[in-house]
Point group: C2
DNA sequence: TGTAATGTTTACCAACCGGTTAAATTATCA
DNA sequence: TGATAATTTAACCGGTTGGTAAACATTACA
């Protein structure tokens, strides 16, 4: 059997609830900044303020912590895409999806980096999630976007690459935060950067996906 | 003194040239897929086909290997941005910048991941490069873009966030390759995905940056 | 309050990891 | 070819890492 001792108790206690919460919070912090292999149980224990063997009383292995963390975070991570509504106005749906993703990059950068680390290193521990639930959800929303494009409500484009572009541009502000701040410089690196980013991305995507080219040189409507 | 023994020889030999090349190639492979802390000297030695002490004859520490690798790769990595020409046609400059970055993501994904890993984990070893040469180059090109925008050649937008968006969308195809392939599915995950991406990104940026809004509701010129 | 269930700590281990030493081997060239 | 410089290897070292065993402390509840 591969259960930690805490899972073998007869009832699930208040302490278990609290400590597991505490551990996953610490694990998020550590895994997000160091990746799986770069993180140590000792680090996580330190952040959680408990001893290593005590951690291992609740999660039998480092991998088990990581797995539990991914499981807990993945669902909420995909929520914004789920809210993407086929019945809504295409432009405002896309716009609010971008806004929501950008808010998540600002408010939950560790979650973003957790996945980024994992995917970047070949996704050895989340491959199933990518090819299963994630792909299924994207497939579904891609269909919606394609419908909009065919109805002439937005420009004809590959819906998958549109979604990739939104992911990339928004998560960039969480995953590459250090670089963004370094390039913007001290004076511009305040929280205002997220509003600037939102403004720019809105321009880019709304304008970029608008039907029929701009005044300059597109084929006449 | 912190020199590896190979650097203390009287002449620089053919073998040194070859072996250092071999080591850096192996180090790129390993660092790109595991990050600095996740990589071991043994792994690099394995890929390079030589023993660990032999590696350490050419590079005194793991960090020295990483430093040498970054140094060698950073310059060529920034080349596309350097070619960005103030005198050229704005739209075609931006378009060819995107194309070139996308080609690099396709042809040199390991280089992209090397930096992504580093930046993602707080850039402890390349902070200076980010705040120095990188920022300087971006500042310079941002000015060019701003000039274009003021001259009405492209939409008024924040040039820094434009550059971030181009970086994010193009490097996404190298850094998040596993995810891209998983979502596209087996049938669409061939090399054609880069052409599809190029087509989409061209639409997005060229359309998105075109002066004056599209037919739908922009302020009259 | 007593006791059984739950939680925590101390001490430990084997494998791994970055790096060193010194001896052995190979290449270079007068 | 022989001597010298350059390269490679085997053996090793101290610290770290993931994980375990068992004693000890605490909590919950009858």
């Amino acid at each position: 059997m591969a259960l930690p001792r805490a899972a073998k108790t007869q009832r699930r206690t208040r302490i278990q609830e609290e400590k597991e919460e505490l551990i996953l919070e610490a694990a998020l912090e550590v895994f997000a900044t160091n990746g799986f292999r770069g993180s140590t149980i000792d680090q996580i224990a330190d952040v959680a303020g408990m001893s290593k063997p005590n951690l291992l009383y609740y999660f039998r292995t480092k991998e088990a912590m990581h797995r539990a963390l991914i499981e807990r975070v993945l669902d909420s991570w995909l929520d914004p895409l789920r809210e993407f509504d086929a019945e809504g106005n295409p432009v405002s749906e896309i716009r609010s999806y971008i806004r929501r993703k950008l808010e998540m990059a600002r408010d939950f950068p560790r979650e973003s980096r957790l996945f980024a680390n994992e995917v970047l290193q070949g996704a050895p521990r989340i491959e199933d999630a990518l090819m299963g639930p994630l792909k299924a959800l994207v497939d579904e929303k891609a269909k919606v976007i394609r419908t909009w494009a065919k109805a002439g409500k937005i420009a004809k484009c590959d819906p998958y690459h549109l979604i990739f572009a939104i992911w990339a541009t928004t998560q960039h502000y969480a995953d590459f935060d250090v670089q963004v701040r370094a390039v913007l410089g001290k004076d511009r690196a305040g929280e205002g950067r997220f509003e600037d980013a939102a403004r720019f991305l809105e321009l880019l995507f709304v304008n970029g996906l608008a039907v029929s080219g701009p005044a300059t040189g597109g084929p006449a409507a």
